[in-house]
């Protein structure tokens, strides 16, 4: 990862940088590496080397592979601390969200597949029914994870552990009447589907 920071690729630089600037709406070139974002990053302890300023630098340098395959992009919790503190109003939280979408479009395998599965399942459930049903979308999410564990990672133990954990949470929620079996739906789902058709990405 250290090495890739030093590689300058003129042929790919402009297009990737402009793509990120355009899609995220953030002016990355305004970054002067003061690292206020790095100091405040919620997941800084988890990503260690990789901080928002480094991600921005990497994009400017044109390292597309590195920018899409790092822990920050996939661990970012969208707390928006970096952008709130940035003296140049660069919201790196929006940049990591944009990079997730670029990875999806270009069918690049996510570093943490569970993150992608979660947001896909949640969003699809919301558009499908007009409202998110916790049990339904969690079902799809677990299904996607299990299929990934089984066919890609060939790891059946991970599936059993995951299911055990979710069943445990499910039971304690059931006891507290925090699990709901009535189905939430909105007639607006027809409009949402129409909107989803005209969206570009």
């Amino acid at each position: 990862m250290n090495q890739s920071l030093l590689m300058y690729k003129p042929e790919s630089t402009k297009s990737f940088l402009s793509e990120v600037i355009e899609k995220s709406g953030q002016n990355l070139t305004a970054c002067y590496q003061c690292r206020r974002c790095a100091a405040g990053c919620s997941v800084g302890d988890e990503t260690v080397f990789f901080t928002p300023d480094k991600l921005i630098r990497m994009i400017i340098m044109g390292d597309k592979y590195g920018a899409l395959n790092n822990e920050l992009v996939w661990k970012c919790v969208s707390c928006y601390t970096c952008g709130t503190r940035c003296p140049n109003d660069i919201q790196t939280g929006k940049i990591t969200e944009t990079l997730k979408k670029i990875a999806k479009q270009e069918k690049i395998k996510p570093l943490i597949p569970k993150v992608k599965h979660f947001h896909d399942s949640f969003f699809k459930s919301g558009v499908r029914w007009g409202r998110v049903n916790e049990m339904e979308f969690m079902g799809f999410y677990e299904l996607k994870n299990s299929l990934n564990d089984f066919f890609v990672k060939k790891d059946t133990k991970a599936i059993i552990d995951e299911i055990k954990e979710q069943v445990k949470l499910g039971f304690s929620m059931l006891k507290l009447k925090r699990l709901h079996f009535d189905f939430q739906m909105s007639r607006g789902r027809i409009e949402l589907r129409r909107l989803s058709k005209i969206s570009n990405n």
Partner: protein, 291 residues
């Protein structure tokens, strides 16, 4: 007085106690909360990470519904729904082409004049200027809470004007002060609990919550007060595991602000459904002095 009310998916399901409490509190203060008819999901953070256009269009439909029904204000208790809706409103208002595109597909058109309030702003508006102090039945003594705001009440991925301090908000402290509660100052009031990472990136989220809980415990707090259903669920349901990891015997009930307000208004624990927490919150409240 009538205000439009957007509960959101979470308040209809796992956190429906928050929905019940919110309605009771506002009814007590003489406000009629009108649930927006046929509202849809705001898309939450997931839409922002999946589809930019939909992340703006989904809340836009709700705004359109409320505006068509003639409301001038919406109160949104869930922090995630609040953030998504207010960001959507501001982005679309700044972008006429986008407004046209969205309006072409929805029946109740988005106008963009409506005011979006989070629960603290709404309570301030309804019962601000000392009115809350006069209208409560009891003063609560003997509670030492820390106020936890989380991310989405003060930090936005777009230009949004907020009424409170970004790094050190005070709205919840001021509200609890008028109930007679002394709050404890701490470092993690606007830190992130990890939100959905508790499910899809567990280790990260547990580490974030461990920092929040250990600061609260070390400062001598006996409970946490919050307004966000996601934060409440996370800190409540994962607390046993986190405290075992950091070797701590103490547990802190995580209350919604509406629960303490409800107690001060003379509502019972059963009525407010406080008995539905993972970490028991009833014992501490039973021991309290209500004067």
């Amino acid at each position: 007085m009538q205000i439009a009310y957007y509960p959101g998916c979470s308040l209809k399901q796992s956190s429906n106690l928050y929905d019940i409490q919110t309605r009771k509190i506002f009814a007590y203060l003489g406000v009629n909360l009108q649930e927006i008819n046929d509202w849809n999901c705001c898309g939450a953070t997931s839409a922002g990470k999946t589809n930019d256009f939909m992340a703006l269009a989904m809340p836009a439909r709700n705004i359109g519904l409320a505006e068509a029904a003639g409301f001038s204000e919406i109160v949104i208790p869930c922090s995630a729904c609040y953030l998504r809706t207010i960001v959507s409103k501001n982005v679309i208002n700044d972008n006429p082409a986008l407004k046209k595109k969205i309006n072409s597909s929805i029946k109740r058109k988005f106008i963009g004049d409506i005011k979006i309030l989070n629960i603290l702003e709404a309570l301030e508006k309804v019962a601000g200027n000392g009115k809350l102090k006069k209208s409560i039945k009891y003063k609560i003594k003997g509670l030492n809470p820390v106020c936890y705001y989380g991310c989405m009440l003060t930090r936005f991925p777009y230009n949004v004007e907020i009424s409170d301090n970004v790094e050190n908000p005070q709205a919840m402290e001021n509200m609890l002060k008028s109930l007679g509660i002394h709050t404890i100052d701490w470092n993690y009031k606007t830190s992130c609990c990890g939100a959905s990472a508790a499910i899809n990136d567990r280790k990260t989220s547990l580490n974030l919550m461990a920092k929040i809980l250990s600061d609260a415990i070390q400062r001598g707090a006996d409970c946490i007060v919050t307004t966000c259903p996601m934060c409440q669920m996370n800190l409540d349901s994962n607390q046993d595991e986190i405290c075992e990891n950091i070797g701590c015997d103490q547990r802190l009930p995580v209350y919604f602000i509406t629960e303490l307000l409800g107690m001060a208004m003379g509502m019972s624990i059963q009525e407010l459904q406080i008995n539905r927490h993972f970490i028991d919150g009833t014992q501490l409240l039973k021991e309290l002095e209500l004067k």
